[in-house]
Each structure stands twice: as C-alpha cells, then as structure tokens.
C-alpha cells in the first residue's frame, strides 16, 4: 500500500510540473489619438519585427511576429493591414505572403503583438513546384509593409531572417507523454504484484455469470451458439476483448460438443477468430470438432453483413447470441432479430451510442469498460487481472482531478485545469 501512495504522489507532482503556461490575450483598447490631420501622410512600418523557426513542427514553418505601427490608431487614415513579404535572398525579389488585418493580435502573447505562421511542406502541388514551399534548413527573409484605409503604404521594415528546422520533441504534448509513462508504470507495478501472487478482488460483473448459463441452455436445447465480433477492425480494442470472450465460449462449446457460429465481416478478424477458436478447441482436447466453415467471412459492408447474420439467426435457430466487440447502427438490428427468435442474448460494447439499444434488446449487457474487464476476468490469469487495479487507480486520480479542478476554478485559480492544457 505504501508503494501505491508514493506512486500517486509522484504522479501528482509530475503532472503539476508539466503544465504549460497559457497567456490570455488582452482586450483591445480603443484609443483615439490627438486630432491631428494626418491625411495623405504615409504610415510608419511596424516595430520590432522578428522571425524564428516554428516550434514543434516538421521543419517547414517560420513564425514572424511584430508590434503595431505607431500609426495604427491615428485619427485620420489609420493603418488597416500589414502585408508580409518573403524572399530567399536578403536583397532579392520579395513576394507577398499574406495581408493581416489590423487589430488581429495573437492570443499567444501579452499585449499587442501580431503573429503569422508561414508554413508549407508540400514541395509540389500536382506536378508544379509550390511557390510557398519552405525548404528545411534554408534561410528565408521577411519584411512588412503597412497599408492605410485610403491605400497609402509605408516603407518596408528591415528584413529579418530565420531557417526552418524539424523538432525532435513536441513540447505541447509533454503533459500527456508523462501521463502515459506514469500509467505504464502503474500497469507494470500491478503486473509485478500479480506475478508475486497477490490476490486481487474483482467485483461481480452482471453479464459474466450469465455466460456459462447461456451456454448450458444451448446445450440442453441442442442448438448452436452465435458469436458476433462486431464491425470493428482486428486492431480495435473492443474486438480484441471479443476474442478473449470468444476463446472462453469456444472452449465450453467444445466440451459440450455444440457448434459456435462466428460470421465475421473483416478478413483479418476472420483469421484471428479462426486461430482463437482452433486454439480453444485444442485446449479443450477436441481439435477434431473444429470446423473452419463455422467462422466464415460474409462481407465487409455493414448492412449486407447484418442481413446475413439475421438470416443465420432465423434459420439455424441459435439458442444463445453473443455480441462482443465494436458495434455501430447494426446493434439493434441484430439484437431485436435475436429477441424475436427467443435466443438468450449477451452483449458488450464500448460504443456509448450503441449501449442503449443493447440494454433495451438483450438480456445482459457489458457496459463500456466492463467488456474489457470481463475479458480479463474470464481468462482468470492474474497477469491480465493485474492491470485492472492500475485502471482503478487511474480512475481515482481522475475523480481527484475533477474535484480539485472544479474547486480551484470556482475559487478563481486555473493552475489545476492548466495541467490538462495541451497545444497540438
């Protein structure tokens, strides 16, 4: 327990250190200057023009900043725009990049500062060279001219230069980089504890107890079991959780000698599902019962797949239907057809939008994270159960931050909320 508390403190401190600083823009203040008639007099160029490499990019961006021309607020014929010019030689030909309207100060700086990010990493557009492309490592020169409402222009500002370069760490992502490391450490800690044989209590999860009963019912009725892995890809975590539950179900059905039908809608998912079931049958000592034709590829399109699975339910009269994985609009189409055939149905998905339909139309539903927990729970392997504890500690941290963040914000301090500020 001591270790845990230490870890928590470490986490808090690291997160607090990591928060990036955020400046608020000052509101623009209207101030009319002295009533001197300045009509016809050219405006002054902007002040303090600077160019630098754009941070946190792939090496094709330059940031130019400048402060307003003193003539921006003059009573007559004030400055309305800043035209930015670029060249790859200091005294070469400059081309216009963009005109920025007066008053559009950057929110990244305090006070009245303009900022423009000149950025383009496309060397060619189609087959034509891209004139706006910025080459990595090459020096570019910028100068700025101001324009007034009547079209008067100022002198150019003194050229400034910078060379874009690529960066090796994105500083705006620091805080969640650290969060990932800490979470990794938590998961590893509990895997180690599980290896040592520390017992972990896991609360009962509604749908899990029902799984064995549902398989038993199919056996009594002598009818097959249907297992739908959803319409996600093989790499979706929900599909992976589905395989683990499928392994368990397949092992039981091999013992009871009833077929399990797994129509799938993605070829990679099919390969994995076939491997999973084959392994489960082997584990149950009945590799002879395994039939690859029970795990067919139907089609990759959502609704044709649903039509086929609904046909299977009606014709094979499946006694138990499992829906475990990633589901979209097909959730209710499947579950409601299953309900009309009188099958026992157990569902689980991590899609918040589909959970209402599974809850309404199936007998048991694993809600969101319960699906992942169930797959670990069913495997009974301590190594898989260990990280559940890490997940729980992370949840405690989330609750902690929500409470502290809300309280501090209400008191007018934003330093806790700033921990979760990121700039991408």
């Amino acid at each position: 327990m001591k270790l845990n508390r230490k870890l928590l403190w470490m986490l808090c401190i690291c997160l607090l250190m990591a928060f990036p600083v955020n400046f608020e823009a000052n509101a623009q203040e209207e101030s009319a200057s002295d009533a001197v008639d300045t009509t016809g007099i050219p405006p002054a160029p902007p002040v303090n023009v600077q160019a630098m490499d754009k941070p946190n990019d792939n090496g094709h961006g330059i940031v130019i900043t400048w402060e307003p021309s003193p003539d921006e607020d003059r009573a007559e014929d004030g400055v309305i725009g800043y035209s930015l010019y670029r060249s790859d030689e200091k005294d070469g030909d400059y081309t216009e990049v963009r005109t920025i309207a007066a008053g559009m100060y950057s929110i990244d700086y305090e006070g009245e500062v303009y900022k423009y990010e000149d950025q383009d990493d496309r060397e060619k557009i189609g087959s034509n060279p891209n004139p706006d492309f910025l080459e990595k490592g090459k020096t570019y020169y910028y100068k700025i001219q101001t324009t007034t409402a009547t079209g008067l222009t100022s002198e150019f500002s003194e050229p400034v230069s910078a060379a874009p370069r690529g960066d090796w760490f994105h500083t705006g992502k620091t805080s969640y980089f650290i969060a990932i490391i800490i979470y990794f450490a938590l998961v590893l800690t509990y895997i180690r504890q599980a290896k040592k044989g520390v017992h972990l209590y896991i609360r009962p999860i509604g749908g899990i107890e029902a799984i064995d009963n549902a398989i038993g019912r199919a056996t009594e009725m002598g009818r097959p079991i249907l297992f739908v892995l959803g319409t996600g890809s093989a790499a979706d975590i929900a599909t992976i959780a589905g395989y683990t539950i499928l392994a368990r179900v397949a092992k039981k059905t091999a013992e009871y000698q009833i077929p399990v039908l797994v129509p799938v809608n993605e070829p990679v998912v099919m390969s994995v599902a076939q491997e999973t079931v084959r392994a489960a049958y082997a584990e149950a000592g009945r590799p002879d019962l395994y039939d690859e034709k029970n795990i067919p590829y139907v089609t990759a399109m959502q609704f044709p797949y649903v039509a086929a699975v609904n046909g299977i339910m009606m014709r094979e009269k499946t006694a138990t239907n499992f829906y475990m994985g990633l589901f979209h609009a097909e959730s209710l189409l499947l579950a409601e057809t299953g309900a009309t055939t009188g099958a026992i149905q157990i569902a689980g998905t991590d899609q918040p939008a589909q959970l209402p339909f599974f809850i309404a139309a199936t007998d048991f539903t694993l809600i969101g994270e319960e699906l992942y927990a169930a797959s670990a729970y069913l495997s009974k392997e301590p190594l898989l159960l260990g990280p559940l504890k890490a997940q729980d500690y992370a949840k405690a941290l989330i609750i902690f931050f929500v409470i502290i963040g809300t309280i501090t914000l209400s008191l007018g301090w934003d330093f806790v909320a700033n921990i979760f500020e990121t700039s991408i």
Partner: protein, 207 residues
C-alpha cells in the same frame, strides 16, 4: 424516366420490398435479397480495395515511384496466406504481430489525449451560484458517481456502494435519453424509403 431507369428503379423497389418482407417472417424473397447483396457487396468491396488500396499502396509506390521499401508490407501481406499450410502457419503471426503493434502503438497517445485529457478538460468547470452553476455541480457529481460505478477492485457497499448506485442511475438516464433521441432519425430513414416506393408507384401508374 427512361425505360432503363424505370427498370433499374423497379429492381431497387423490388429489393426494397424483399427486405421489408423480413418484418413479417423469414422467406425466400428475403433470403434471395440477402444472398444477392452478400455477393454483390463482397465483390464491390474487393474491387474498391483493389483500385484504391492495392493500386495506391502497392502498384504505385513500387512500380511507378520506385519506393522499393514498399515491398516489405507486400511480403507481410502475402505471409498472411501461409495460414493454409500447417508448417508455415507461424509466419502469418509475424504479419499479425506487426499489425497489432502498429495499431496499438498509434492508438495509445491518441486515446490518452482524446478520451482522457480532452474529457477531463471539459469536466473541470467553474461553479457559479446561479442555475448554470447548480447544473454544473450536478453534472460533476453525476460524473464522479458514474466513474465510480466502473471501479472493479473494490466491493460496492457502504458509502462507495451508494455512489456507484447513483452512478448506474445516471448511466441509465443517459441510455434512456440516447434511445429516445435516436428514434427521430430512424423514422426519417423509413420515410425516405416509403417516399421512394410511393414516387416509383406514381411514375409507374401514370401519376
């Protein structure tokens, strides 16, 4: 409508009715439409993958742009086929391993950002003393209780059980609302089909 359009729309209308007949019960018409669409969609998908993914990720890089390193994914893809051989089946696991490693590796930072950081940012709000403040407070309490429902390694009894109880009620309200909100969109889909059938019949019978 030209004759060919009339015939094609007739086919579409017939298939629409075939699918609707499933509402009464499973029947040969439905089975026909189901099997037809299974074949057609599998063929469509295959050719779509061929033209987009196979062409863009295999033929163009290797043969037109000369990026020889694109041969590696192709070898991995072909290794998937070793599943049919008992002796070489383990090779297909190597492609699967790359597939899973890449997919999970890319997802971890993205999920941490979108599902944890962004949600937490939205969950920390200033509580004011007006109606909005009360709602924010209630939302925050509901959120905390609902998160505690997903706590697995602690028995849900005592005060903690009470919290998770409030949490599951909050979740149920969310699910009820989600269900109720969707109905409108689903009815609109049905109407679109009915109007399609109605308009076709009007054309057919001289409307």
């Amino acid at each position: 409508m030209t004759t060919s359009e009339l015939l094609l729309n007739g086919l579409a209308a017939f298939l629409t009715l075939c699918i609707f007949s499933f509402l009464y019960k499973d029947n040969p018409f439905y089975k026909f439409a189901e099997r037809l669409v299974a074949g057609v969609s599998a063929g469509y998908w295959t050719m779509l993958l061929y033209h987009t993914s196979f062409h863009d990720k295999v033929i163009v890089p290797i043969f037109q742009q000369g990026y020889w390193w694109y041969i590696i994914p192709t070898i991995l893809g072909i290794m998937m086929w070793t599943r049919f051989s008992k002796k070489w089946a383990w090779l297909s696991r190597i492609s699967l391993a790359f597939y899973m490693g890449i997919a999970t590796g890319t997802s971890i930072p993205v999920v941490m950002y979108a599902a944890i950081y962004k949600q937490l940012e939205g969950s920390m709000n200033q509580i004011t003393t007006d109606a909005t403040g009360i709602n924010t407070l209630l939302m925050t309490i509901g959120l905390i209780c609902a998160v505690s429902y997903f706590y697995f390694s602690k028995e849900h009894d005592g005060w903690f059980g009470g919290m998770s109880r409030v949490g599951i009620y909050t979740l149920m309200i969310g699910f009820g609302a989600g269900f109720g909100l969707t109905v409108m969109g689903r009815i609109a889909l049905l109407i679109e089909r009915i109007i399609f059938l109605r308009d076709y019949l009007l054309v057919l019978f001289g409307g």
